[in-house]
Symmetry: C2
Subunit: 300 residues, 2 copies
């Protein structure tokens, strides 16, 4: 049971964690801060927070759990602002999609003792929607949350972070900070860059109005993640740059190889590549049933 939760960042991730805890009666008071006054007011209206405050310091004062769910680049300032007001035994955790940069920011801003209270985390859940209105209590149920504990963390702090996420239905896994950033660059960051870039490329075509007119379900699914929050994804690209660039180069090389096969009319080569991709993808996700497909058909 959490006495007082300090929520810094009141969007999809922060809002959903609060709603999930409240729904289960696992939290006393939720005190919330976000940069925009209107977001704070809206979050209170939606029942995400009980009490809006005007600063990070006010939010964390007296809180036994602090959850930081702002875009990653804003976290350095958040850690600086909380350092003075933090309670001695508070658990600090976050929901950032990049971990190396967040850990570095926390280390720079917090005292040694405070840094040991910070257990970095990344829930592998979300939608392309953002802001407090996008939050819902079921978001984390049966989804993975990756914690990246550090040598500085006390074992009981790590356990508190694990319990927090398990209490809202998530499956907790632990991995190394650097490894997290490498794997997520492939799994999540590269696909987002690929989707944003595809929609951007098509929108630059002179014939864009017609192109989008004939876009069907396949394009809708492919491009869904291009509706994600631009500021959040800007920060992910900037803070995970060193892992993302080689992954992007790997994708560019694959596209160039594909280009060569098409250019040389190498039907066998093309089919081999497509078959390989299909086999992997089919193994990951069972095909949807025809009736579901009827509701959301793909383009051809």
């Amino acid at each position: 049971m959490i006495q007082r939760l300090a929520l810094i960042g009141l969007g999809l991730i922060g809002g959903s964690l609060s709603l999930a805890l409240k729904q289960r009666g696992l939290v006393g008071e939720v005190v919330g801060y976000s940069r925009q006054l209107q977001t704070r007011l809206r979050a209170r209206e939606l029942g995400i927070i009980d009490r809006p405050v005007d600063s990070v310091a006010e939010a964390v004062a007296g809180a036994d759990v602090v959850f930081v769910a702002t875009p990653v680049q804003a976290m350095a300032g958040v850690f600086r602002d909380m350092a003075e007001a933090l309670a001695p035994n508070a658990l600090i955790t976050d929901g950032g999609s990049v971990k190396g940069a967040v850990v570095a920011a926390a280390k720079a801003a917090l005292s040694t003792a405070q840094f040991a209270q910070f257990v970095p985390g990344h829930p592998i859940a979300g939608t392309e929607r953002s802001g407090p209105d996008a939050a819902f209590a079921e978001l984390f149920e049966n989804h993975r949350i990756i914690l990246t504990p550090m040598p500085e963390n006390a074992a009981d702090q790590v356990r508190r972070a694990e319990d927090l996420w398990r209490s809202v239905g998530a499956q907790v896994e632990c991995m190394d900070v650097a490894h997290h950033d490498h794997i997520l660059a492939a799994t999540s960051h590269l696909p987002h860059v690929a989707a944003f870039s595809l929609v951007s490329a098509l929108s630059r075509l002179e014939e864009r109005y017609e192109v989008f007119r004939y876009a069907a379900g396949g394009f809708r699914d492919f491009s869904r993640i291009a509706s994600s929050d631009p500021a959040m994804w800007r920060d992910i690209c900037l803070t995970n740059r060193d892992e993302l660039l080689p992954m992007l180069d790997h994708y560019l090389a694959e596209l160039q190889q594909m280009r060569g096969l098409i250019d040389h009319r190498d039907g066998a080569g093309i089919e081999q590549m497509f078959s390989g991709a299909k086999a992997v993808r089919d193994a990951l996700y069972r095909p949807v049933e025809p009736k579901t497909s009827a509701a959301e058909p793909a383009s051809e």
Copy 2:
């Protein structure tokens, strides 16, 4: 009312057209051919065809409507095989995703009179599933079907093709053959190549098992079209090569630009590009409701 429909190719598209006509009582007999005996037998079992036959010529003999729904590269042979047996006033149409190559194949194989009976078409509907088991009667309802009539077509043949598709609930639009291939390269063919290539690139990583383990909903949606039929998409790449290659280059240039922005840590440039893509994508598709998102959450 169609007396006898000849169905060449018994997969998702051909099978669905037959089921849609049968459900509405708009067809007498459906005679079907596909290369594999097992596919013919399965199509009869599923009620897609009434009578399986052993050749294209047998299928088209006495048919008043012929629908060709094989992969695009197989269509040249299909047209050659039907030329001898075609009824004088039969409507011939097809469901190929590329139109220029199909028109050229028909022109080479058919007599002048027969060629005038061929009204090329492309239903903008489908799923990532393939084969007769993927077919369902509702596939075309409220979906676009693009016809690309030619100067050689008699007006009443074009009208018959329009009526055929409208009778199964599709919205008919007409455009020029070359224009179709250009627009669809952007709308459909490029996204498929991008998705196949992304899954292929990730599957070549040494850490692929872990990468796919942490792939969440965003990746699932992005990669869904990479579960499409490899032979069908090989044929599309080969037959629409001249439109696809410049479109792929356009995408590669966009990715390179994106790469440069990330490399130079140009946060404003990245955000501008992401915001532009999001604005276009949001305008195309209203965001899904939170409850739907809960069922299919995206990765972050």
